[in-house]
Each structure stands twice: as C-alpha cells, then as structure tokens.
Symmetry: C2
Subunit: 368 residues, 2 copies
C-alpha cells in the first residue's frame, strides 16, 4: 500500500516559474486537494476531449468540487485538427460567455492535443491564466506536458502559433494509461526512445525489455518511463527554457518526423510514430555524414523496429524537403538536424545537404 | 543642433527583459543604426497600416537596408477592427509564405492598433519573435508602446486575447506627431491626463497650458509629455510587469472608457476620447463615494473639458454595466474602479455599487 499510494515528485526549477511534476497511481481523484495545495484560483475550467471526458472528467470535476472549487468543463472533439485557430476562437467565446476572468485557472485533461491547445488558451486569454496539466497519455506524460511549450497548428505548418506558458503543476496519473490503445503507447515510446538516444545510454540499454512491458501496459514500467523521462526533460528545460541552445536536442527525430506526419495528413502517422520514423531516418543521416558508427546505428535501428509502426506515408522527397525548409526549427532556408554521435550524445542543430537527406528519405520508404 | 539631435533615453528595468525607450526628433531615419545597436536579427518584417505606410515606411525600410537588414513589410488596412483574430491569421500566413523563422524581428510602425496587433503576432508566431515598437501617434508614444501589453479584440470584448511581450527597444520619433490630425492628439492627451491624475500632481498642474500647446503640435511640449509619461509608465511597469497589483492604476478611466468605446462601435469615440470621458465619470464616482473633494473634482473636470471631445454615445446604463461586468479587469461579477483620492493619488481596484454607477452614467450623458 505505501508503494501504490506513493507519489513521485520531480521539480522543474525555473526560478519564479518553478513547478512540480507529480507522478502516481490513481491520482486523478486527488486533483482537488493538489489544486488547493498549489494555490489554484477557486474558479477553474477543465478543457478535455470527447475521448477522455467519459473516462476521467467526472472524477476530476468531483474532486475539484469536493475541495471547494467552482469547476466547469469544455469538451472538444478529439483529434489533431482541433489544434486550430478556429477551435481556439470557439473556446475564447465560451470562456467569455461564462465570464471567465483573469483569476480562472485552465486545467488541461488529456493528451498532447488537449495540453497544447488548452495551454495556448491559458497563455493568451486575457493575457494569461493560471494553468495545470493533467496528461492522460504516455506521450503527454513523458514529454509534452512538461516544459511550457503550448500552441496550435496553421494550415502551413504544425505548432506555428504558440507561446511558452509554464503550468503551476503537472499531475501524471499512471492509471489513466491502462485505457490507452496500443498505438497511443507506441506514440509515447517514440519520445521515450528519444530520451535514451539524446541523453542516457544506460537508460537506452534497459529499453529493449521495457518497451515490450510498456506495450503490455505494465504499470511499473510505465511509471519508471514517465519518471525518468520527466527528470531528463526537466534537466534540459531548466537549462534552456526558451530553446536558445541545449533544448533544441529535444527535436531529435522531429525535423523528418514533422514532415512525415504532415505528408500523412496528420492521420496515417500519429506524432510519436512519425518521430520514431524520423529518428530512424536522422540516425541514418548521422551514419552517412560519418558521426555515428555502424554498431550504434544498428542498435537504434533494432530498438525502433521492435515497436509496431505503420508504414511511412508515400510522399516525394521534394515535398518532404519543402516542409522541412518551412519548419520553424529552420532559421533560414537550410535544414538542420540533431544528429546522434553515439547513443546518449547528440549534436546541436547541424546543417545537412539536401541531396543526402533525399537519399535517406528514399531509402526509408523501401528499406522497410 | 545638439538639442534637436539629442535623444532622450528612458530605461524600463525588467531584469533580463530590460529595454530602452529612445525619444527624439527625426529619429526614424536612425531605425537601422539603432536596430543594429540593439542586436535585432538581420531579417525583419515591418508591420504598419495604410495611413502610416505612405508617410514613414520608405524611410524606415531604407534605413534598415542601409544597415544591412533584410527588411520587408506587411501593410494592413487602418482601424481598430483590424485588431482581430482574422487579421492575425492573415499575417501568420504571410509570414509563413515568406518563410519567416524564429530569427525574424517584428517591427511595429504606427499607432496603438498596429503596436498591439504586431506585438501579438510577435508574441505568438513560432512561440515568440524579437519585437521593436516604433510608435507614430501620441497615444502610442506616451502609453501603449511601453510595458509589453499586446493583444487583439474578440467580438465580445476588447483586448481579450493577448500576452505580455516586451520589445527590445521603443523608438519614439516626435516628428511623426506633426502629421497627426487633432483627434489623434486628443487621444494621446487622454493618457497624458491620466498620468497626472494617478501619479503626479505637479505634472497635472502644468497640463492646462501644455494641452493647448500640444493641440497646436508644439514639438517641445509633445516631447516633454512623451518623456514624462514614459518615465511614469516605466516606474509602474517595472514594479508590476504583469498587473498583479500596482499596474492596475493605469486602468483609471478605462473601465467606463472601454464600455463607452464599445457602445460607440469603436467608431464614434476613439480609445483616448473614451478614456477622457471615462476619467470624468470615474472622478464623479469617486466624489459620490466620498473619496475626492469637490475642488479637486472640478480641477479634473475643467482640464478634461478643455480638450475637444465628441459627445458620449447614446447607450443604456444597463448595457454599459453589462459590458463592464465582462471586462477582463473584473475578476468576478463585481465592477471595480481605480478612483482618485486626490490629484496624484488613486486607489487600487475598488468595488462600486451598480446603482451608483448607473446614476453617474445617466448624469454623464445629460450634463455635457
């Protein structure tokens, strides 16, 4: 009992914006108590989606009300297309109709889409509201709920409109991962593998077994993944909150990943799946420019291929390159990558010739 | 010559976000040099409107190019209606089409509308771009270009969507005020009078003569107003960047002002005109709740009535009250005001009974 009740607390040290990540089992019903402890204003709006609401919204609202909060909710349709200016505008209108003022907290209950969108609302409604992240997917628990990046998509590019808006706390209830379909676990594993490659060879070495356990929803493994990844993300974000340097290493796999995700219309590949393919391709690039050796390349290859993945969407390399040039990580027309030097160490953004990228993209589509 | 060439420099001390306000005559042609001195990235986009572009855009672009900047521009139609999500979306699209990346600076050239809108774009495009304010109206030079408040309007309320995003520097060229129509000078005077009432009785005492000189476009007076108001605003903003306390005193006149502005469809009263009416009404409220004495009330009355003002738009007090209840300065259903205790000292936000507000609003429409 002390073990299952225990809460792991990881601090993200950001000066006056310092906040904790609380990780544990069956934590949702503690939302109200924790919100009170963290000084959340009495009035709060839970933003969630149609997948998550039937499963977890009642417990969260009940817990908030039990602790004296005036809690209401906004439920949006599920899916990446909701991360739009259109949806944001509707939510602004709902908040205004409810007379939400500056002392209203926004609580994001859901996966990455809900967290990014609700966080953008919290960053911009009346110039900023207190914000809480309650991630309910592996992807959002290991990665997107931590670090304050919030935003929405533009038809011409993902996350092109956004802000940095740190939460007051993050509540990661591991029990919510039990209801996730396999594809959602896979998405989270994309970021888990990323942390191994960019920062921690020992963690990477333990992943082979861990991945299979995570795919079986093994609670202990999932909890360990969340705690270890949040610790690494906190380390990076606290040293470079606004991605002026070090933080860019978190983009490993994301340059090609974003392009593939877009090529599949944000449907045939989910974000984490696209990142897995992206990491594979970017490791191949690293090998061809002579940074990583063949043995380590194979280890990354083997680990990624042990995760069930849909095929790479069909798209010309010219089209993919165009998307990459427009990526906001590109500061000019040149395409840059975070490239692994070895497992656990990566470069800062490095320009790579387009011809070489093209060759790797072509190999990617027929080698698997 | 040393006098007309001299630049007044006022610092806004905000830790790592500290920046200078540079005030002088004929400064626009120095934009490029100053941008270079302040480390603005080589690529920049000037956002301006159809009123300002023919007058000042060529000089600014030329100066930027002469100093090695890649400068392009986005010209929007003039007017408050442009402070919309619709317009913001169009600008995001234009920036994406031009492949503007994170190392693109946004330069706002124009009045409050351009500054607020361009600032909102700078705050949210790709999670934040470097930003420069080049205000060309009295209102924006004395007030809105300083302090980092940026935002756009929602059909249900002004400035409801926004952020705090400090500029890297503010360049206030007093010469640009020479082309302003009288109504625009009046708008700036609204904020000038506000600074006298909320913070500085001595400054207030000198205003009677100064207002007439400003209406004649007297350069020395205008420059003094800009420098003194920026000094006061810097004082307030540096003590309370995000309006958690002291900064709220800058809202004197704005609770009723915003409601009147909205009642007039943002056309029959301009912002500064509405603030002048708002300050008059809020001073009357202060008198009725027994805070300010009759003599000081009359002095404020006389000063405001020495400024040429359009009539108060016809609107029911019930409608005006409804708008005020939805104001983002209202933290619950209650309406709060910054009330002058005497010239130079005001309260923090103070709840006032709606019946009393109604009576003052009715008096306002038939006493003048």
């Amino acid at each position: 009992m002390p073990n299952s009740k225990s809460v792991t607390r990881i601090t993200v040290p950001l000066g006056e914006r310092t906040y904790p990540i609380l990780i544990g089992d069956d934590l949702l019903k503690e939302t109200g108590r924790l919100a009170k402890e963290h000084g959340i204003p009495r009035s709060c709006v839970v933003i969630t989606d149609t997948n998550v609401a039937p499963l977890y919204l009642p417990a969260v609202i009940k817990s908030l009300q039990r602790h004296g909060f005036e809690a209401s909710s906004i439920v949006i349709p599920a899916g990446e297309v909701q991360k739009s200016l259109r949806r944001a505008e509707k939510i602004y209108t709902q908040l205004l109709r409810r007379r939400a003022g500056r002392r209203t907290a926004i609580i994001a209950l859901g996966g990455g889409v809900v967290g990014d969108l609700a966080g953008f609302i919290a960053a911009t409604y009346q110039r900023g509201l207190p914000f809480v992240q309650v991630p309910t997917t592996l992807l959002s628990q290991v990665d997107s709920s931590v670090g304050g990046k919030v935003g929405i998509n533009h038809p011409l590019g993902k996350n092109m409109i956004g802000a940095f808006h740190q939460p007051l706390f993050v509540l990661a209830d591991i029990s919510t991962l039990q209801t996730l379909p396999e594809r959602e676990i896979v998405c989270g594993l994309g970021e888990v593998v990323k942390y191994g490659v960019i920062l921690d060879a020992a963690f990477f070495s333990r992943l082979q077994g861990g991945i299979q356990a995570a795919l079986r929803h093994d609670t202990k493994t999932l909890r360990r993944f969340v705690a270890e990844c949040c610790t690494m993300k906190s380390f990076v974000v606290s040293r470079d909150e606004r991605e002026d340097g070090l933080r860019s290493i978190l983009n490993f796999g994301h340059t090609i990943g974003h392009a593939l995700e877009k090529a599949g219309g944000y449907r045939s590949l989910k974000h984490g799946e696209a990142v897995l393919w992206g990491m594979l391709a970017e490791t191949m690039i690293s090998r061809r420019v002579g940074l990583i050796d063949r043995e380590q390349e194979f280890r990354i290859y083997d680990l990624i291929r042990s995760v069930p993945l849909p095929e790479v969407p069909r798209s010309s390399s010219a089209q993919l390159l165009r998307t990459m040039r427009n990526d906001k990580k590109s500061t000019d027309a040149q395409i840059r990558f975070i490239l692994p030097r070895s497992i656990g160490t990566v470069t800062l953004p490095t320009v790579v010739e387009e011809k070489l990228i093209s060759r790797v993209l072509r190999d990617l589509s027929w080698s698997y």
